[in-house]
Amino acid sequence: MALLDPRRGCIVIRVIYDGPAFAGKTTNLRTLARSLESKLYSGEESDGRTLYFDWVDYMGGLFEGMPIRCQIVSVPGQRILERRRRLLLETSDVVVFVADSRSERLMENVRSFKVLGQVLAPMVPPVGIVVQANKRDLKGAITLDALRDALDRDRLLALTEAVAESGEGVRETFVLAVRLALDRVRELWNRKELPKIEPGIDDGGQLLSAMKATEGENLASLSSLGLGAIERRSPIEAAAPPPPASPPPSGGVPPLPDASVPPGLVWPPVEGRIVVHESTRVMTRIERRESGDWLGFSSEWMLRSPLKGLFFHLEEARAALVSWARWHSAVAERLSQPRCIVLMPEASEVWRLWQIVRRVPTLSDTARELFEQSDDLLLGEGLFKIIDLRLRAERDFVTTGWLGRLGFSSVSVSEAGAPLFAGFSPYSGRSLSTVGSAKFDEDRLIRDELAPLLRGELRIAPHRIPAVLTSLRKVATANRRGHIAKSIQQSLLGS
């Protein structure tokens, strides 16, 4: 947990290097220590394997004018030392997950990453993760996309490449991790929750003593492993916003969000910055719609700035960001992830709100894939599932008044099989408690939305219609929803 050390006048953060055994955690720290001209302290080892941790202490960089002291700690990777690993992870401000890129190590990476997610899940503010794909020089190294998909397809990951043995990518990974940690510090700072105390653990020796002291106890004494002994706490004032003063610009394509977005203007604070980092790595085409909205697209991401998202006063802009962030928080479980909102400075006294959403497979995409396969029975079953999800989404999102409009191309599916909204969140979003709803009209949905979709897909194979309808009727009847099949048949065939 980060803190402000009043005696040294510095910010103290803990960067944890995690990952399965032999992934390269200790090698990273060894290389980093050499590169940063710091000393490496290793708690205890056995046959070259870390039993407790490795520790590097480094002072560098600045946060709000104060030096940053990084306690860089690697955890033991052996499964039998899982408890020690968890204890250390719970004290982190950012985690570098070192993954072994060799294909035969993939399952170990996946298992270890899953545990990491479980440990970090309850932490507030969230702890950022940088995944370092190490050993990129070895034969059989899997692609980054394959690694990303294996670790967590639905979660956004900041990914770097490295050959820790030679030092390649080590420092870059570390600096990215520090940036994420600082986002967390900023969040604590803004909430006035950054402790102003001296660190209880000041070096590797003290950490080793503290960890040994907790061994054999039923409950780990986390505060003894944390950065700060709980002593004096005093509130930290959030930094005042900068005072600009100039007229707004006119016309032109606005600058897209990028890594230069100032601190405190991205939501969610840690994952959002990763979203910005990832989404701006690829070229995006940008266009202005008739509505006045700006839209940007790439193969993986979509960006939108609503017409009303332009501001000429920072406080008003911040208030809009906070309000929109609250809306997102309230309905998070209904939204596809990852996504973020960003307040980007455009010129002096001009700020623009952006929304960045990762493209995910929608019901439209699923329907198209279904029509590519030749089994009409499977097609009918698949179509029923899609229709059912679409109808559920309409009932849950539109009829309740939460969203105004939906379509097959803006609904995706969660892992649990529930519908998710995958489009751009409405800017003047309504809360879930909004009263005033649209009438749920199933027939209209089928007639005006589903039937045209089916007609479009089936026009190249009209001979499939009877078989598809038969299959759909069978599935719908089995689910006591026979009227759906009837509606579709009427819409398609007029009878």
Binding site: G60, P67, S260
Partner: protein
């Protein structure tokens, strides 16, 4: 972005070009952390200098915005009594920081060497 190894090789090229070379670093603007360093003097605290220079860059960027300029910061040249310092933007998120003895070189040499070696990495 170029790797640390490539950056250090570029710094070594600058060191060969610039008489009186003291130190060079690639610095992350947001955190002030160094991404690559090369120093010929142990008494020159490059990490601290890099961090404080990141504050200079941030303030300069704020100044540009406050003036309503549409320009982008390219570099900052600083003349001290016995040293010359160059801060050259590398992308949107980092900068090169270069220090040299004033008596041995001049701003033109520093600037052209930095441009040549850093631009060749892009």
């Amino acid at each position: 972005m170029a790797s640390e190894k490539e950056m250090i090789a570029a710094f070594e090229g600058i060191q060969r070009d610039v008489p009186g070379f003291i130190a060079a670093s690639l610095v992350d603007i947001d955190s002030g952390m160094t991404l690559a360093v090369l120093s010929s003097r142990t008494d020159f605290d490059l990490a601290a200098a890099s961090a404080f220079n990141s504050e200079i860059v941030k303030q300069k960027m704020k100044t540009i915005k406050a003036l309503g300029l549409q320009s982008k910061l390219e570099d900052i040249l600083l003349t001290l009594s016995d040293q010359l310092h160059l801060i050259k933007m590398v992308g949107d998120t980092s900068f090169l920081y270069l220090a040299a003895e004033k008596a041995s070189t001049n701003l033109a040499i520093i600037r052209s060497s930095a441009a040549r070696h850093i631009n060749s990495l892009n």
